[in-house]
Subunit: 164 residues, 2 copies
């Protein structure tokens, strides 16, 4: 229903997320002011707030909050396809791994791979898509992975099932 | 190392997170301007940006991005204990479930339950803690759950192990 206010149908519906489909979005440069602002609002641990504390930590420098990394990737997904999709939101994540620190000045890309999909029995106009997200930095290192399910409106609703 | 710039030892070390320990933090009122600002920055899907699009969606009103809910809970955790802990960050989440919508005006609390912990073999001064986080609204409904691991410096490093 994300497109209910749009004047034309979105490009991406549930049927379009075929197994193995891989798309890459970005890049997004990790901005110092944005790192500090996000941390100030949501994760004010010292190593996310100043170079000094970052250098004294396991990160070795000013590192973005892992939640900020997830937010930056979400934004790349939105700009890349979600805002032109029939997205209905997500029931959650099956895993999220923060694999390497994301440092100020890094350049991130977001990769999405479709792992599978299935119809939703209770809602004939909705389907679920299982995806793996990878955040990749300028050295092609995977810094974060996410496995999640998301709901999308179908282009063609399922045929009515047998009674009950 | 989060406390490396602090002048005294933090209250919470790895040893303090005993199985079953339950703490509750907050509350945090979900603010309309903050919902729209977060969505504008990180998740600009229409149902997170305006009442009109929210009402036309499955959410039925202006709903916070699930990533924003996670951020609000993270902030309550920081204020509640993490900033006075030996936190060294987190390797990731084993699950994150967005169970019910979080709407503007909701009042959230954050609950943390310690599920278990273990020493880190490779780092004698570090231990891991497995926790379940629950975000609860003003109707005592659990709106989000997270299961995660986090690293904390130990108060007393492990004794040196046998050679190799």
């Amino acid at each position: 229903m994300s497109s209910s206010t749009a004047t034309q149908a979105p490009r991406w519906h549930w049927e379009d997320f075929t197994d193995g489909l891989t798309m890459e979005f970005g890049p997004k440069v990790v901005d110092r002011d944005e790192v500090i602002r996000f941390a100030t609002d949501f994760d004010p641990q010292p190593f996310h707030l100043s170079e000094e504390a970052g250098k004294a930590s396991l990160f070795g420098g000013l590192a973005a909050s892992g939640w900020h990394t997830a937010g930056m990737v979400m934004r790349m997904m939105c700009d890349g396809f979600l805002l032109d999709s029939s997205s209905l939101g997500s029931p959650g994540l099956e895993s999220l791994k923060w694999i390497k620190p994301v440092m100020v000045g890094d350049q991130l890309r977001a990769r999405m791979i479709v792992l599978g999909s299935r119809a939703m029995k209770s809602k004939p106009h909705v389907g679920l898509v299982n995806t793996r997200w990878e955040a990749v930095n300028q050295r092609d290192e995977v810094v974060m992975t996410i496995e999640s399910w998301a709901m999308f409106r179908r282009r063609e609703p399922a045929a009515p099932e047998q009674a009950s």
